[in-house]
């Protein structure tokens, strides 16, 4: 009995893992090999046909491009900005940092959908608040929601704004865990503030840095809500994302097989992007 209790404790997780992760992933790989309409019992095996048709599908390629473009904007931006804000909030002499932090997390508790509605209104080409400010300072009106480049930029700005508090909390928790004596000892030895940052703060923050980067990557690859609610992927499909493409395949076209193929591709992209980080995180666990 003594030896068996860990397995009993793990039973709910095992059941959960199989039904919510393992089986659906297997199912997605399986379904992606068929021409399969949602809800239909009849399906036709077409091998890699779905993948081939995706590679020839302009909408898919644009979605892939947009998702990768978004990731290259989003990941460096959130990682560096949240680290900077965390360092700033960690200054002992500042007042009200607790409230500031709570307010930074505020966009997280506002539902995605409302965030979309607010920003659609803020970014409206005519009379939108952002464009009003930009034209007042002489930059002029930017067609945020009606062109591909500015649409993706707008989507990235919204996503960064919405999630930065989350990453800031992670960095801040790491900064606060650094014993103050380290800095005092370094100061006694005559270390400059840059040296203290470079040789004390950075090494200790490395695991958090890895964690934040992998979560940011995961979130970037799953770009959906901002696009769905702000641009609907438009004009046309120019600002579509991979997840939106999968969603459309399923809900507009009812192509369960093709939608599954898109989700397998997303899965592979995420795995490739975070495999190094996963290895690192696994190493930090107790054996």
């Amino acid at each position: 009995m003594k030896m068996h209790w860990p397995y009993f404790f793990l039973l709910p997780f095992i059941f959960f893992f199989v039904s919510v992760y393992a089986y659906p992933i297997f199912m997605a790989i399986y379904a992606s090999l068929f021409k399969w309409t949602l809800g239909a019992t009849a399906k036709e095996f077409i091998g890699l046909g779905n993948y081939a048709s995706l590679l020839a599908d302009e909408e898919f390629l644009v979605s892939l491009e947009n998702t990768l473009f978004f990731a290259t904007l989003y990941i460096p931006a959130v990682v560096s900005l949240s680290l900077m804000i965390a360092l700033w909030l960690n200054q002992k002499f500042l007042r009200g940092t607790g409230i500031a932090l709570a307010l930074l997390l505020f966009p997280l508790i506002v539902p995605d959908v409302t965030v979309g509605a607010i920003w659609r209104w803020l970014l409206a080409e005519q009379n939108g608040v952002v464009n009003n400010i930009l034209s007042a300072i002489g930059i002029g009106r930017i067609p945020w929601l009606s062109t591909r480049l500015y649409g993706m930029l707008g989507v990235a700005i919204i996503a960064i704004w919405r999630t930065i508090g989350y990453y800031t909390v992670m960095f801040l928790s790491g900064l606060q865990a650094i014993p103050q004596q380290y800095y005092e000892a370094a100061s006694v030895d005559g270390a400059t503030s840059f040296q203290r940052f470079r040789y004390i703060t950075l090494p200790i923050l490395t695991p958090i840095f890895v964690f934040v980067t992998s979560i940011a990557t995961l979130n970037a690859m799953q770009l959906f809500t901002e696009v769905f609610i702000v641009t609907q992927g438009g004009p046309g499909f120019s600002t579509s994302s991979l997840v939106l493409k999968a969603y459309n395949e399923l809900y507009i076209a009812f192509q369960f097989g093709k939608a599954s193929a898109v989700s397998v591709i997303i899965e592979l992209l995420v795995l490739v992007a975070v495999v190094v980080q996963i290895k690192y995180i696994a190493k930090t666990l107790v054996k």
Binding site: T97, F106, P207
Partner: protein, 271 residues
């Protein structure tokens, strides 16, 4: 030095105000007339105060039902997480058994799963099982968040083994040790996990949109989605619904913000 303090302090206030400005606008917008909503103004406060949006909202959407459904899903998932995640994390952090490493890797692996890759086949399964449009289907995938398991694993490792060993010598069972002795010690993690799970699921648009279709089972995000189509957005009503929804959460949030931070501190994400 004095100047630098003052500068950074002022900058902080300005930064935070700009940062939450969109939210101020939407809460203020709930009390504005539609004509005023479209004025090119930077003022978040209404000039002609009105409750019109709320009246209209209650006519269009069964608000209480929406809040009730969202609440049920979020509370069930949050409670499930603070019971099942420590149950999973405890053996992985504090015991030795064959396959421990494998299960640890399973947790990490599921932590970085893109939910969309799962949600499409999962929806197929839900449809086949005839569970579409049930609150059960909306809740089930969130009963265990692997990331919360990870947080519990990390904070449990901080507890000395001696404490657990002496409890075992006193004849305490493993469940008693976990729920009666260990969880009270890491109650900040429990509180923070509850809150994080609650927020995540309260906000999760995609899955609820996929499985909940009828108005009876409609949750908050689906209701807002209904109020904003690609052709027309009932901005006033959306803002009114948002205010009804975030103000209670904001209060809980401001009270419990220390817990969120300390969860992350405790979970350490250490090297």
């Amino acid at each position: 030095m004095k100047f630098r303090v003052l500068f950074l302090q002022t900058l902080l206030v300005i930064f935070v105000l700009v940062y939450i400005y969109p939210i101020l606008l939407s809460i203020g917008g709930a009390f504005k007339w539609r004509s005023e909503l479209f004025e090119p103004t930077l003022n978040p406060f209404p000039i002609n105060f009105t409750l019109h949006n709320f009246v209209s909202l209650f006519e269009k959407v069964n608000v209480l039902n929406v809040l009730k459904n969202s609440m049920i899903i979020a509370i069930v998932a949050a409670f499930s997480n603070i019971f099942l995640c420590p149950l999973t994390a405890y053996p992985l952090a504090k015991s030795n058994f064959k396959g421990k490493r494998f299960f640890q890797l399973l947790v990490i692996f599921s932590m970085v799963q893109p939910f969309i890759a799962i949600s499409i086949p999962l929806l197929g399964i839900v449809v086949m099982a005839g569970l579409q449009d049930t609150l059960f289907a909306a809740t089930f995938p969130f009963l265990i968040y692997p990331m919360i398991v990870y947080f519990f694993m990390q904070s449990l490792t901080y507890i000395p083994d001696d404490l657990i060993d002496s409890a075992r010598l006193d004849g305490a069972g493993e469940l008693t040790i976990l729920y009666r002795i260990l969880l009270p010690i890491i109650k900040a993690t429990v509180g923070g996990s509850f809150l994080l799970t609650f927020i995540w699921i309260w906000n999760f648009y995609l899955w609820q949109l996929m499985v909940l279709r009828t108005t009876e089972n409609m949750t908050y995000p689906v209701a807002v989605g209904m109020l904003s189509t690609s052709y027309f957005i009932y901005y006033g009503e959306v803002f009114a619904l948002t205010s009804l929804y975030i103000v209670p959460l904001l209060i809980i949030f401001l009270i419990m913000q220390k817990q969120i931070v300390s969860t992350m501190v405790l979970s350490g994400i250490k090297g």
